[in-house]
Amino acid sequence: MVDGPAPMRGFPRADGRKGIRNIVVVAYLVECAHHVAREIVLSFRDRDVHLIGFPGCYPNPYAQRMMQRLCTHPNVGAVLLLSLGCESFNKSALSRVVAQSGRMVETLTIQTDGGTRRTIGAGCAWVAATLDALAAQETVPMGVDELIVGTICGGSDGTSGLTGNPAAGRAFDRLIAAGAACIFEETGELIGCEEIMASRAATPELGDELRAAVAKAARYYATLGYGSFAPGNADGGLSTIEEKSMGAYAKSGRSPIMGMIKPGDIPPRAGLYLMDVVPDGEVRFGFPNISDNAEIVELIASGCHAVLFVTGRGSVSGSAISPVIKICANPDTYRRMEDDMDIDAGRILEGLGTLDEVAGEIVALTRGLGAGMRTKSEEMGHQEFILTYKSFEPIGPACLPG
């Protein structure tokens, strides 16, 4: 008997999108509320209750928008907001956006709800009741053409550009052919790829935007004194900055580039998109993305149901809200850290598999996440999350042609 893959099912949301998870998000709106939020989440360790938040006390439109996007992500079923009370985050605006999305939302304010212990108690009661309500929600059939998938690489080494990244690129091509929207990013690591990337743009004007985004990243990183080609890259066989970039760029596959977005912008239709993650304007607030999870959070804020994470050295990160599929590019790393790796791409170097076979496994797991499968990092409870200060101008009209 031949079984086809299990059909995907999703949780329908009022905006027409569908989630492959039905998570309760507990969101602290300033670091001062972090502990109370975490204590609530810890009471539901093995349930789909995830901790997110913004630590800053001072207002930041980017962070506000990111939190609105994250709290109305299709994988999120309900939201509990944790405020200290005197921070500047606009909690009523966030609460309103979540309520308008049709989700259950509650705001607890520690200063007026009786301090740490009583707020934790009230939060746990709300989450318990909300989980019961979410458990009664029905799923509906869902297709690959309703998925948004992102990709990043982290902990890269000389194998990343040989196995994991091109395999992720081929997986992207297949997902896009099936109607999905896919997002790649890290403009600072695309220096040298701007012309070939522009040649794949849907319109010449979009090509100009892609070139400008890479030039902006080069300027930004130069100001920070970062972005050089390190001796270790040469030891690993990389000879030039553009060779290093091409290894990362391979994650984008070969599909035409349909648009350029910024964090929180949701791809309007199927196809491949570049996310410009480098802030606009003068350099402020420090490094654009201080760690891999900052990029993962931005991809999720743009609607990614799942993120393909290619690693050579061996990252163990997962994420709050959306599953992270870890693709291990290095066969030695895979053997050391098999429990953390969903996909063994390094075996290609050993002649034990092809890029197409590995791409097929990535696509199958991505689909499978909508049919009951879970990633290794989900199984082990990884829910990393980080959100910091940034500033962006809205994208221009040439960024999303047609």
Partner: protein, 101 residues
């Protein structure tokens, strides 16, 4: 990525347009390896992840890997030569090569 007809199985061709192979594992100095029906003697050990010329490359010619230019040859490169910082350079900007550490 694929093996190339008549080529040593340790050499990977990442894209059909490429003029370099990538070593999937170390190839020792002095080994005689097949490169597309030619036999070449490897002059210096080529480590995993390093590049080897698929065909002769003239000075100024683009080095193609992943189907894309990753720099230009700075001296004549023979089929089977190790392709690295001693015989190719970035076409992008040398400023990214300075200021390390």
């Amino acid at each position: 990525m694929s093996a190339s007809e008549g080529t040593d199985g340790r050499l990977l061709l990442l894209s059909p347009e490429d003029n370099v192979f990538v070593a999937r594992e170390e190839i020792a100095a002095g080994e005689i390896v097949a490169v597309e029906a030619a036999w070449v003697v490897v002059a210096a050990t080529i480590q995993r992840g390093h590049k080897l010329a698929r065909r002769p490359i003239a000075p100024g010619e683009k080095i193609i890997k992943y189907g894309a230019p990753i720099g230009s040859a700075t001296k004549p490169i023979a089929c089977g030569d190790h392709v690295h910082v001693s015989n190719i350079k970035s076409d992008y900007t040398a400023t990214h090569l300075v200021g390390d550490g």
